[in-house]
Subunit: 283 residues, 2 copies
């Protein structure tokens, strides 16, 4: 396993970790100044800035864009809406290419409002990914399917395990083109009894496109916005990274923390400083 | 699939649904008066009453005890604590026998405080179940392993899928004695892409000991105490019961709703009335 001591060049910050409180260009500067090697920005902040300028800034600071967050949710109550959802992600893939992103993060979406058809939503997801894969190849930006924790199955993602994400990869990209893989986020996957086996399988097929860390707090107070800083929760982060790297992952370790009541209230440079320390000691 | 119309004798109420606001004997009377055929009480209410008296009352009212809730959490930081945890459940199994419970519900417990050893906790769980299985045979009360939703993996149950519960059953009770099986609760399992396959597998081995219903609210506000009334959420309840019954389940359908801000604030008879209506129309 790689030693992260004094290797912040191997570490990336997802901008959500700072709570999206400042313009993206300021956030980029903070992350670069703190010594990190990578950044993962969100569409809503890129789309209200100038994507070409953002791309220039990121390149000038020698930051790797470890992922571009994220797809428009795919499942829809009508075909027209489904098509619109796919098209929005196609447009975002163009921006991902401009940014030089290592992957486009696919959070696939939950059940359409009012629906109880989980299998139907899962079929729409596979259809949408198949369509986006064509665009991903055109722009040269891989799609990283991110299974979300099962507690988001209703409203955010009907894709909830790494094993199922890999099934989709194998079905749609049997030739292992490099344009379809997974984003492994410990917050979503830490509980999964098949985690180690799925990571190994993903590695064998070169499917691991991103690795996200934070921690699961034993007393989680909010289902969305109470993620923990690495080391403050129950996840054996060193063990997961050991599996990930044994499986062949050589990319950056990206910190992604949603934390409305704690980390998003702190000074951004303090947050980056603590991320840096924890990455080097507990990840 | 059985038609539940005017068949409340096939339906049971877990006393948690009424919020544990009244003495158990009063709750038993309400549930029987409303016409339900079964009840599932909790240890904390039985243990502060007289178990023999409760058993007499339940029998006199011809109520089936669809489950006795629940085991003491098994994983512990020390061996002495682990032994104490097992012993507490052994004592509770005696009460389950007195009550004539169809099963003893096993909520296996999360990580010991301060631990990050998920595999270790899962091993302790298998050990503890093996020990309890002996006692279960002695008392003639089957153990129903209830996998909890993965969002409870840290603090309530490291057993999170039906598939893994069945693995434990097959390992510890290959002869299918009837004393080890599963409790299927839609709240915990509805998201699982392997749900249908696991239910079929469980049925083939006569492992389905209990079936619990409520609903998953699209906008869940509390991770523990915001379960929905059947029909108010996203679960296709009719489809799940069809699978359960096709797999051979002939037991009662038990309603278990934790709902601090909604159902636990309503009049108990109103809650029972709405449970009754929803059981007959959406379950």
């Amino acid at each position: 396993m790689r030693n992260l001591k004094e290797r912040l060049d191997l570490c990336s910050i997802n901008t959500a970790t700072l709570g999206h409180r400042e313009p993206l260009s300021r956030t980029i500067d903070r992350i670069a100044s703190a010594g990190f090697g990578g950044i993962a920005p969100w569409r809503h902040e890129v789309e209200k800035a100038n994507v070409a300028e953002i791309a220039r800034q990121v390149k000038a600071l020698d930051l790797t864009v470890t992922g571009y967050c994220r797809s428009t949710y795919l499942p829809a109550a009508t075909h027209a809406q489904f098509v619109a959802n796919v098209d929005e992600s196609k447009a975002a893939l163009r921006d991902a290419a401009t940014l030089g992103a290592r992957c486009f993060v696919m959070v696939v979406g939950g059940l359409p409002e009012g629906s109880r058809d989980l299998n139907g939503a899962r079929e729409q997801v596979a259809d949408g990914i198949a369509q986006l894969l064509e665009t991903a190849r055109e722009y040269g930006v891989p799609l990283a399917l991110e299974p979300l924790h099962p507690m988001y199955a209703a409203d955010r993602a009907v894709l909830n395990t790494l094993a199922r994400a890999l099934d989709i990869c194998d079905a749609l990209d049997p030739e292992r083109s490099g344009f379809l893989g997974v984003a492994v986020d410990v917050y979503h996957c830490w509980w999964d009894p098949a985690l180690q086996a799925s990571i190994s399988a993903a590695g064998l097929n070169d499917r691991i496109l991103a690795y996200h860390v934070c921690d699961w707090l034993r007393e989680t107070r909010d289902m969305l916005l109470d993620r923990g800083m690495m080391g403050d929760g129950v996840v054996d982060l060193a063990a997961v990274r050991e599996n990930i790297e044994r499986a062949g992952y050589e990319g950056l370790i990206e910190v992604e923390i949603f934390s409305k009541e704690n980390w998003w209230r702190r000074d951004p440079d303090e947050v980056l400083c603590i991320c840096s320390e924890r990455l080097q000691t507990v990840c």
